[in-house]
Structure formats: structure tokens, C-alpha cells
Symmetry: C2
Subunit: 215 residues, 2 copies
Amino acid sequence: MARRTGGGSRKANGDTDGRIRARNEARILQVSVRLFSAKGFDGTTISEIAEDSDLPKANVYYYFQSKAAIYERLIAEVFDDWDAALRHIRPERDAREALGDYVREKLESSRRNAAQSRFFAGELLRGGKFLSRRQRRHMLDVTHEACAAIDQWIAEKRFPDIDPRHFLIMIWATTQFYSDFAPVVAATLEVPRLRKSEFDDAAEQILKAIKFDPD
Amino acid sequence: MARRTGGGSRKANGDTDGRIRARNEARILQVSVRLFSAKGFDGTTISEIAEDSDLPKANVYYYFQSKAAIYERLIAEVFDDWDAALRHIRPERDAREALGDYVREKLESSRRNAAQSRFFAGELLRGGKFLSRRQRRHMLDVTHEACAAIDQWIAEKRFPDIDPRHFLIMIWATTQFYSDFAPVVAATLEVPRLRKSEFDDAAEQILKAIKFDPD
DNA sequence: GACGATCCTGACGATTTCGTCAAGTTTTAT
DNA sequence: ATAAAACTTGACGAAATCGTCAGGATCGTC
């Protein structure tokens, strides 16, 4: 018997670098993020994940203990990219340049990983119950750092006197919106679906709408 | 028999103004919007709706044909308020005042009806499949009108030359964000939960961050 | 107080879903 | 070649869910 039965059965814990495991887990996760983002946690069934992955259902359970386990793995994966764009905001940089890079990168990354972005948004919309304490802590730390940078700009009169927290929320909300609510945006812009050019326009217009000069 | 059985059975269609019916439907809808917004369509069970409404499950089915019927009723209700705030944006008004009113009213209404707002956001996140053609059409018409107003401001040099569609998306995304993703916002602002004062601050800071003067 | 319309409800069937299991097959290491 | 580890899979059980039904209770009105 390859596996132990009974309560708390533990399967191979990632320490082996099995090729097949890596390939199949990746396939399952890829299919899952699409389904979860389109139909939510409860709306997605394991059978569906199995079918779309071209695997029997029992095989999915061989790789993941439960549906929740798949979901949690995805949260962890997506979370790793969460703050990448924020790193552009550093006190020594020029505000307009730094924020420009941030907006552009955020838009581009959420465009390229639309499913992940929507998946994460859905999770946050439900209150972020799946986020670990560590992950919440990390989000806060990174946010604080960015706020500190903006505060320094303000102190040096290189940026208007705006509460950095509200300002960041505004930028974050806007950039997320384009991929998370793509159908609404596409309708508003009167295009059948959003392409790269729409995202480029968005970055440009967003930056034009922000007041960069201190009063 | 009060009801017909068999396919396409039709229950009393709202033409009678039964007091009891009105009360119970309202109670069911009120409970449902909370549950749907917290757990999504598939995550919400009729039994749960029944329990929280203090009614037996069969009684819920007496008032609504199906879970989808409840959902659709809610969509229609929430949709009626969708464009209320947008009406502030009229060409003859001052841009700063009109947009100020819009932002404040949007924030306030989504604060007061947080469940509805999250419910609607969840629906749009999934692609807005429940929205009827008429409703989509209406959203577009209203958006166009607001865009036309802004375009006029721009033509008269009373507003910077920004694509009104992107600008409106930015405002809409931001104002929605505060109630739809309240836990994230609360964490960012370092308060246990959002109160009216946070929303007031938000309105003020958002308006400070927007460039109103034409170049 | 009677009689029709409206409202209420416990029990039920059909279906779907999660997750398990035991017995197979393939890969890997020696 | 061989033995262990890793992988695969069809069938299955238990639980949950949707929606129905038939009959009983209550309300409004004449």
C-alpha cells in the first residue's frame, strides 16, 4: 500500500520533486483558479476541476486533501505577487515617475493574470477569511512602507498633502477594477473586450487625472 | 386548491397587495441579500435563508419560485439605485461641486447599503450574467450622459482634458471599494471597522487627489 | 358563521456533491 | 530483475440540497 489510511492521513509533502506531481498539481491549480474566479468557491465542484484537468476525480484527491486545500494553495500563490508593484513607491524616487510605474505595472500584471486577480478580489469581497494572519500582517507592512514614502514626498513638498492611505486605496481600487470588472469596463468603453491598448489608455488617463503638484 | 400544479405553475403575481406577503417577501429578501453577499449564489442555501427568516423552507418556496428568482428580484431592486448618484453630473453645474456631490453620495449610499453594494459587486465580478439586456442598456445610457456632461466641461475649459469614461471608472471603482472591500480598507486605515467618519475622510481625500484645473 | 383565498408546514424524492477505498499500473532506484 | 514508492482509477457511501406535495390553519368578507 502506498498510503496510510485513517484520520489525518498525510500524503507526500512536497519534499520529493516528482515530475509527475509537479505537472499534475500545476494543471489542477491552473484549472481551479479559472473556475473559482468564475463561479466562486461553492459554485465550483471537484468533478468539474477533474474533468477540465483531464483527470479522474479520485486523482485530484490524491494530490489535494480537499477543495479548500486547493483554494488555500491558490491564495498563497496569488498573494506572493500582491505587493510586487508597490515596490516602485520609494521616497527617493520622483513621485510622478514612481506612481506612473506602479499604475502601469499593476494594470499590466492584472491584465496578464486576470483569473488570479478576479480570484483574489472574490476572496477579499467575502472578507478574506482564507488569508492567514501572516499574510494580513505582510499586506499591512508593505502598505505602511509605501505610505511612509508618500509622507516623505509630502514633507519635502514634492506631492500634495493627501492622506497616503486613502490615496493608495484609490489607486489600488482603480487598477484592480479594469481586470476584475472587465465586462463593465468593456461596455463603458464600447469595445467587445479589453485589449492591451485599453489598459495603456487607462494608465495614461488615470495619471492625468491625479493631482501631482503640491498646492 | 389555491395553486395550480404542473409545469409553469404561476403564483399570485403581485397584483394583490397582501400585507402578509409583503412582509414575508421583504424579510426573505433582506436576509438573502446578506447571505448572497457573504457567500455567493451557490454558497447560499434555501434552508439557511429560511432559518434566518424564521420561516420553514417550504414557505420560502411559497413566495419565490426558486433561489434564482430571489436573486433576480434582488438584482432588480439594487439596480434601481445604481445610477442615483450619477445624476449629479450635469453640464451646467460646476465640475468640482458636481463631482463632490457624486463622490459623497456614492460613498454614503454604499456605506448605508453595504450588503446590497457587495452583492452587486459580486454579481459584476462574475460577469453580470443575471443582468438583463434592458438593465445593461440603461447602465450604458446613463454613463453616456455623464460622459457628455464632462466632455462639455472640457470643451469649455472648465475641466482637464481627460477621457470621461476612464475618469468615471476611476471614481466608481474608488467609491465602491470602501464598502465592498471594507475589511481591507479598515486594516489599511488601522481601525477595527469603518464608521461614517472614515467615509467622510475618504470623500475629502479623494477629491483632493483629483486634478480639477484644466492645464 | 361560512366559504373562498391566502398562507403555512412536515415529510418526501431525486439529484448532486464530497471524499474514501481497495486494487490496479507505472516509475524509480538498486 | 526486483522491490518499493509513486501514481491511477472505477465504484461506493454518507450527507446535503433543491424543489414538491397534499393537506391543514388562518384571514377577509358577505
